[in-house]
């Protein structure tokens, strides 16, 4: 499908216009409108008012577009329409700040960028965009009356403010790899900082949002405020982030999502109460269109032995509608793996999602507010996990619980290097992915099944690392991670890794890339610690300490 669009460029002088016109002809680029002698606020408002096409691609005069820009723009539009709905998005760009995570995402060649980005199938929801290239959805922007405030003028912050105006009116913005361009300018940081301090912009931010600080791709902008007010002022303004969240949530609020939490349990341990308590809080934070089920996958214990306990928890957490599944032949394919395989056989809806959480871990209910839009366009989502060193007695909660580590969602990327450090509860999968994995693989062994499943899942599927808290992991005397006898771990490790290698999960390009990278600092430090200098340093420290003590 060919979408109707025009290119607009505001040029610094007529010489630039002449040069660009020459390029347009030479490379048979789409029709371009050239303007000079106006500021960017006026320029954008004129486009929004006068453009007769459905879409307008607005580029800086130092942006080199690909020769096939027409088909790329069409793809960007098609993907955005598919993902957000044609009438729900306002602007697409090629660089900006990702919504919620606030990561900088760029699909651009410029003096700041040295690494080639990977292509994303769907546009990334953006908080704000960089103005080098902006694709305006003229129809939806006109429909919602989006424009830049008439009292603002100049050449800075218009990109951020246009995104703000778009979100205010309920239209989302996105970053699309299809809008990849070459941008010759590194931007003028000093001018941006000076502009952000101007009264006109400060007043705009102050009167539009409750923020004290606003993120932009160039830097954070501090908003001058009277501090003796809490988050809000007298106008009861939302923050920019809340406005974005509201727009995104309303876009996805009618998308039905089914989420199944699978709790693996093999003992009547009261530790599960903490997990259920957090699941109850999680449930309370969910939107009504999210169907939420809790499944207990019970393995390695007889029904007779554990059923009174199961009855007790089902009664106490009746709101969670807990379903219990007893795994009969747990040892056939190892209990931890087998319980997943058996439970997913019982889940009919392949488009539902599965979140595997062990009974002694717990979920972070914060994610409930985001779960609908996070899962709507993604089959695999990894989040952050918080590790706690804990001591337990027989109570429903730990005696002590101390945060010791945060396992970042991005750790999923290091799996291919052999660094296996991402827990099972950090990842939510679409059921059909797990079904396929269990149908196609034997999954021999246990204890490393989490990593094997993740590796098999990400082989053919897109995944998203979201730096939001998903789960809490408990390290305590009784759990498998701390077991003394590691033999069964070693066998599982060897089995899974041999499978991974022989199933070609590590492709040649990835392998060569990691091999070509310089050794990490940690490795260098470890080898340094084996050397003589380190030994003498340690001896010197000990002597120094002894002398100090004697004195």
């Amino acid at each position: 499908m060919n979408n109707d669009f025009e290119i607009y460029r505001l040029c610094r002088d007529s010489e630039t216009v002449r040069r660009l016109k020459k390029h347009e002809k030479k490379y048979n680029l789409p029709k371009t409108n050239y303007h000079t002698d106006k500021d960017l606020y006026t320029f954008f408002n004129e486009i929004l008012k006068d453009c007769q096409k459905d879409y307008a691609l607005v580029c800086h005069d130092d942006v080199i577009v690909p020769i096939n820009i027409s088909s790329n723009v069409n793809m960007a539009i098609e993907k955005a329409n598919e993902c957000f709905g044609e009438q729900n998005w306002g602007i697409l760009g090629n660089a900006g700040i990702e919504a919620v995570s606030k990561k900088t995402r760029t699909f651009i060649a410029d003096p700041h960028t040295s690494i080639l980005p990977y292509k994303t199938e769907i546009p990334i929801l953006a908080e704000s965009l960089d103005g080098n290239t902006m694709l305006l959805n003229i129809k939806s922007l006109k429909n919602k009356n989006v424009s830049l405030p008439k009292n603002l003028k100049g050449f800075h912050l218009y990109d951020l403010i246009l995104c703000m105006e778009s979100y205010k009116k309920g239209l989302v913005c996105g970053i699309s790899s299809w809008l990849y361009v070459k941008h010759d300018s590194p931007g003028n940081y000093e001018a941006f900082i000076n502009a952000s301090k101007q009264r006109q912009f400060q007043n705009y931010f102050k009167n539009s949002f409750s923020n004290h600080l606003i993120t932009s791709i160039n830097d954070n902008i501090q908003v001058e405020r009277e501090y003796k007010h809490l988050n809000r002022n007298s106008k009861n303004l939302l923050s920019f982030e809340e406005t974005i969240q509201k727009t995104i949530s309303s876009l996805y609020k009618n998308s039905p999502i089914k989420l199944n939490v699978l709790i693996r349990i093999h003992t009547p341990s009261r530790k599960v109460f903490r997990l259920l308590e957090t699941l109850e809080i999680f449930r309370r934070n969910l939107n009504k269109n999210v169907e939420f089920n809790v499944i207990l996958g019970i393995n390695n214990i007889s029904e007779k032995e554990i059923s009174p306990f199961i009855k007790e928890i089902k009664k106490e957490y009746s709101n969670l509608m807990i379903k219990d599944i007893y795994i009969k032949e747990s040892r056939e394919r190892y209990p931890r793996v087998n319980v997943i395989g058996e439970v997913i056989k019982t889940i009919e809806d392949e488009d539902s999602y599965i979140w595997i959480v062990d009974y002694d871990d717990f979920v972070m209910p914060e994610i409930a507010k985001h779960i609908q839009w996070v899962l709507s366009n993604n089959d695999i989502v990894a989040g952050d996990s918080y590790v706690f060193n804990e001591q337990w007695d027989k109570k429903k909660f730990p005696i002590t619980s101390e945060l010791s580590d945060i396992i970042k969602s991005e750790n999923i990327n290091t799996l291919l290097t052999g660094k296996i450090y991402i827990p099972v509860c950090s990842i939510i999968y679409k059921t059909k992915i797990l079904k396929r994995i269990f149908n196609e693989n034997q999954l021999l062994g246990d204890y490393y099944e989490d990593y094997a499943i993740t590796l098999l899942a990400v082989k053919d599927n897109e995944y998203w690392c979201l730096p939001l808290p998903f789960a809490g992991i408990s390290y305590h005397g009784g759990n498998t991670v701390l077991e003394q006898d590691r033999t069964h771990w070693d066998y599982s490790y060897a089995t899974f890794l041999s499978e991974i290698i022989n199933k070609n999960l590590v492709n040649k390009k990835t392998y060569s890339l990691f091999n070509s990278l310089p050794p990490s600092r940690d490795a260098e430090f470890e080898s340094f610690k084996k050397g003589l200098i380190w030994k003498y340093l340690q001896k010197y420290r000990k002597i120094k300490h002894l002398i100090k003590k004697t004195i």
Partner: protein
């Protein structure tokens, strides 16, 4: 552990706002409703922002709780808000202050009240999943140097004696100040480890620093304030030295917070408090910020 009391009415004060009613309806009220505490719970919801009134119909119906909505005429800080509710409701013996994002374990209130006696000024809950990394409470006496204000049982007699929360803090560290005043006035501060509350505070999830700008600002400003109140100019100098070493704040916020403290000092008669020597082990500052290691 003190003997069990049989007190029948508990006043609970929650300082909230019209934009946080989701938390009130989805977390706070249900968790109060499921308490095994056998007395009546009277919940006062105070709108600290005072800009958009909280109406009765905004709050879910509750068969178990007696709910009162308080809409003050002007925005109030954290301590001011609880002082306001206190003066209006006039609780007897003790009252509970609680944040709207708290979810209490079902025995929580019963446990707190079980710990209460007349020599106790404050009883705090144990927060999960993030325990406050402060001095651990004493294993037998449950004594602790300071108690968090996010869910705190307060002795009425003590609260009256010290004139409630110091409103000059506006928000953050007023709970530490109240705790230290408790010790200084001869009341204990306890943490009951069996009284558990779930508090999934956003502060630990610092994936976007600007969301916590306000929190950072007030924490810094009040770090200067509390250091000055208890240790005078020497304490202030130390606070400045510590703050300068904090890596994750930029210079601007540090200097703004300091300037704001200087303005506060200039415009108000700050009453300094002398720490009795026998309490120096309880009233002390290790370093800035309860959430990170000392710089």
């Amino acid at each position: 552990m003190p003997s069990k009391k049989n007190l029948k009415k508990l006043n609970v004060f929650c300082s909230t706002s019209s934009t946080r009613l989701n938390e009130v309806n989805n977390l706070l009220i249900p968790s109060l409703e499921k308490q095994t505490y056998e007395g009546e719970i009277h919940l006062s919801l105070l709108n600290y922002e005072a800009n958009e009134k909280i109406k009765e119909e905004d709050i879910i119906d509750s068969e178990k709780l007696h709910i009162r909505i308080i809409n003050p005429p002007k925005p109030l800080g954290f301590g001011e808000a609880h002082n306001y509710s206190f003066n209006l409701v006039k609780p007897s013996k003790y009252f509970l202050i609680i944040n709207s994002d708290i979810y209490l374990e079902r025995d929580c209130i019963k446990e707190m009240i079980r710990t209460f006696d007349e020599d106790t000024g404050l009883i705090e809950v144990r927060q999960l999943p993030f325990q406050h990394p402060k001095d651990e409470s004493h294993k037998e006496t449950f004594e602790t140097s300071w108690a968090s204000g996010c869910c705190l049982l307060i002795n009425v007699e003590f609260f009256k004696k010290v004139g409630g929360f110091d409103p000059l803090y506006w928000m953050y560290l007023e709970d530490v100040d109240l705790s230290w005043k408790s010790w200084i006035n001869g009341y204990k501060v306890l943490q009951n480890p069996k009284a558990v509350a779930y508090h999934f505070t956003g502060l630990y999830f610092r994936y976007s620093p600007n969301r916590y700008y306000l929190e950072d600002f007030w924490s810094l400003r009040n770090f200067f304030y509390i250091s000055y109140v208890y240790w005078g100019n020497k304490g202030l100098r130390r606070a400045k030295e510590i703050v300068e070493k904090i890596p994750y704040y930029d210079k601007e916020i540090k200097s703004e917070a300091y300037q704001n403290f200087l303005d506060l000092k200039e415009n108000n008669r700050i009453k300094k408090i002398r720490i009795p020597t026998n309490l120096e082990n309880k009233i002390h500052i290790h370093g800035y910020n309860k959430f990170s290691k000392n710089p």
